[in-house]
Symmetry: C2
Subunit: 546 residues, 2 copies
């Protein structure tokens, strides 16, 4: 009897200790190790690249509902969408919400960026020029004894990149339910690369390396334009930094690395915010030998390749010759991860203008711009064209919110399509400087919002939705990024930072409410119909009227 | 009674668990955290800099015994040294060993690098030139409104750097028992800095930044010459890399960072190997504002200072303007750690020659030098002057062993004092590329030893001694480095690597024994008396005769 008691006591003690260990040590460790999607989807790095299926992208094709007008921020009953939605998926739930299912009016010709015939003609010309070029180049390469891979090109009128270009309209770069976007991401992730080259702005520099002239050569010079077999084109930015590394505090934003994972994550965030102003981006493991060195026709590019002491194939920034191998990126031994961003239609057929951001930074060690010292800066801006009418200023504020969430201080310019005039949306290009520091929220990025104290009603409603547990921004981002070949795309602290920053955006809006009243701050998304072609007129969206 | 038993059982169980926790968790953790000296000396980082006492350097002043001729590798009984030696200190034991107490013959005038009168005259001229310069400069600075700190200079005939320069002789840079060396280390660690400037070779570059011309601008350009109040001069190399970071495998040795801690550790290792061919080096926390920015008279140097986004004072490499702040180093907010290496006497009074290392590397991505492809390379070298006679080749092999131990692949040139002619020792300058990777032993650095298969008898005996548990190299290094202000100077894996590499050196020697026989391999340290002045003749050291 006594023995039994002893045993019981011992058993109880050990069980208690075991339970405590389980609770305080093991569980937190496991939690820490698996920052994966809430549904327990596999995050194993071994699934990267080779056998990648785009299951995670199924969320991209939620239907484009047509009869929803009421906004239900509780997200409880959304009528017609109930049946088709996976309620275990926060992302599915988000995209099924009425706020995300506001119908765009029937699009007139002038509201689409590209006409089908024009684009096809352009495509055909490109292919035949390529074929002529290849005939000459193959001979030259054989004569010079240059090893190169030759791939057949295909003329495919159904190519995903064509569909993407054709889908661009005056409201956004793509519709969320456009299946061509899913295909485009798959293509950029897996299709054969037939040639590689420096990008146009790289070529414009002509290898210039005078640091007093070029603001930031360091990050730029490693990005490349890759052409796919079906003639789709993507900008490749190689990995420069580990996901768990933070940008050191002493580094200025304008010399910070470009991060391939920031480029990928920014696309997903933009889509989740329903802006759809970032061209599609996907992660890819690129074979630097087979897909760059052996496909490029650019002698300069070929000349920057070398084999590292560890026998990996590497290449370095063009203008920083030999001694600058610190800037090199290396495959392992050939495979290098990076981001692939879909190209927009060429400037010759779809011109864009680049406009300095009114809240530009000084890009010097000590300089300060007016907005940093003048709290009434926005009053001046509001008087100036094109910020004095239309929704340009509201779009700038959308962009500031987006940049604040990703922590991007490097938005010196923004671009718009010439065709859509001053009322067109702003392209959120080049987001690779984002996600550098998760532990710091750079409040100055929010200056347009905090100084102007206006925000689009539709934007505010979506931000409020994403701040709810039911949809939480970090959770939908984790789920969305879980489908990428390079998952986990973001380290967990960066996802957590999104929630914290979202909260700070909403706090900033509430401070504006207290200062000026809601009516002054929340602004109906406004389109000046007088400057638009006839077909564009019925544009005010249902939820934007208050 | 039953209660008591239960309590006892509970107490025993808890005690057992606590003991297990203590043994398996706490102790390893503490061990891991405190890789400090075996004698339990304080390793707290807070002791760095301000209240630093040179207790750890007491080992520097072991007596210079005069009557020891027999070599006792077991290190058990060493007669006269027994009483004065701290047997708890492996370093004390090592320096008390007869091998480390071989008397140098009385030095003739020609065997000393400097004559006292000549050096004093040089010193006086320097001081008066400085005073003239300061009068003019102070006026100019006041006119230009440049803030600067002015310090009094002192003329001190007993200055430690003077004593160091006077002690340099044809056998070594210093005697281990010279108390001036301990003072010199203390001075470099704590004396007021009165001016800072670029180094001479930096100035020779004139900010040149053409990477095809300059092999390795990246590391070089941040080193500075600092002048002390007593006119001693030291080369400051700032910290560029954390102690636990390893150089990535893809980085070529010639673009690797310079490491301040490698510079410090190399001085200690050289002293432990009893070469004494590295000028004294010590760690220091330098105030980059007070001791560099506000003391320099060089406008170029002042212009590269800036305040980082984290409000730290930083400066960057001269030739890599603005955009190259990646290369900057920053104080915190002003204090920056670095190495201080004592300057040798100026070239005008003690000229040196720089000679290419016969085992130089190619400094290109793909090039190979002859020694890398020709296994009989040493036979060629042995025919060539000055390697065909005297002990130059043996000195090269000493240097190769030293470089292999620290993992330095960057020994493109070596220097000798002109005065001592071809028989002078080789200076082991510029060791900051060492200690980059602890996990890799670069066997090619040992090529001079493995290809020539000769080694000085005295060197081999010391290496054998250091491979014994009784003296173990890593232990004496840890103890020696424990006295530096920036301790721990080396991360523990680097110390462990020293033992492993020492073992590989000895294995290489034994392979030579098997190939050629001991008699062929072990070489009496030879000095060709015919080329030396009369006073130098009685030079063969007792232990070097077999």
């Amino acid at each position: 009897m006594m023995m039994r008691r002893d045993r019981l006591l011992l058993a109880v003690t050990l069980t208690a200790i075991f339970a405590a260990d389980l609770y305080f040590v093991l569980v937190p460790k496991l939690r820490h190790r698996q920052p994966g999607p809430a549904d327990g989807g596999c995050l194993c790095p071994s699934s990267r690249g080779t056998n990648f299926t785009l299951a995670g992208y199924s969320g991209l094709t939620t239907p484009w509902f047509s009869n929803t007008t009421s906004v239900d921020l509780q997200g409880k009953g959304v009528g017609a969408t109930d049946d088709s939605t996976d309620w275990g998926s926060k992302l599915g739930r988000l995209f099924a919400h009425p706020l995300y299912n506001i119908q765009t009016p029937e699009l007139g010709l002038e509201e689409r960026l590209m006409q089908s015939e024009e684009l096809m003609e352009y495509y055909r010309r490109k292919v035949s020029r390529w074929e002529r070029h290849m005939k000459l180049y193959s001979k030259a390469a054989a004569a010079l004894n240059v090893t190169m891979l030759e791939h057949q090109v295909t003329f495919d009128p159904e190519a995903s990149w064509l569909k993407f270009h054709l889908g661009i309209n005056r409201y956004a770069l793509y519709a969320r339910d456009n299946p061509a976007i899913t295909r485009l991401l798959q293509d950029m992730q897996a299709t054969t690369v037939i040639s590689a080259d420096y990008t146009q702005d790289e070529k414009a520099l002509k290898g210039a390396c005078d640091c007093t002239q070029v603001v930031k050569p360091s990050g730029h010079h490693l990005k490349l334009a890759l052409k796919m077999q079906n003639f789709g084109k993507a900008m490749f930015k190689p990995m420069r930094q580990q996901r768990d590394q933070e940008t050191p505090d002493d580094v200025f934003y304008f010399v910070d690395f470009q991060r391939h994972n920031a480029e990928i994550a920014a696309f997903h965030l933009d889509r989740i915010l329903d802006f759809r102003r970032v061209p599609p981006v996907v992660g890819r493991l690129v074979n630097v030998t087979g897909e760059i060195l052996l496909t490029t026709h650019n002698e300069d590019l070929r000349s920057v390749f070398f084999t590292s002491p560890a026998n990996n194939t590497c290449f370095f920034a063009k203008c920083l010759y030999v001694c600058k191998t610190e800037y090199a990126v290396c495959g392992n031994p050939d495979l290098l991860e990076g981001s692939m961003s879909a190209y927009l239609p060429g400037l010759s057929i779809a011109p864009r203008i680049s406009i300095p951001n009114p809240w530009i930074r000084s890009y010097t060690f000590t300089g300060r711009e007016e907005w940093e010292v003048n709290p009434f800066y926005c009053d001046t801006i509001k008087q100036l064209y094109p910020y004095n009418s239309g929704n340009r200023l509201l779009n700038i504020i959308d962009m500031a919110i987006f940049d604040f969430l990703i922590g991007n201080m490097d938005r010196h310019h923004y671009e718009i399509f010439t065709k859509f005039g001053d009322e067109g949306f702003l392209l959120h290009f080049d987001n690779a400087k984002g996600f550098g520091k998760h532990s710091h929220d750079e409040m100055s990025i929010l200056a347009p919002l905090s100084q102007c104290c206006i925000i689009k009603h539709s934007t505010l409603l979506r931000l409020q939705l994403l701040s709810q547990d039911h949809y939480r921004l970090s959770d939908v981002m984790r789920e969305s990024l879980g489908g990428d070949a390079l998952q986990p795309v973001l380290a967990e602290p960066h996802l957590q930072a999104l929630d914290r920053r979202l909260h700070r955006v909403l706090k900033t809006v509430h401070r504006c409410f207290r200062r000026l009243g809601e009516a002054q701050v929340i602004t109906t998304d406004f389109i000046d119909t007088s400057t638009m072609p006839e077909s564009v007129k019925p544009v005010a969206m249902p939820n934007k009227e208050r």
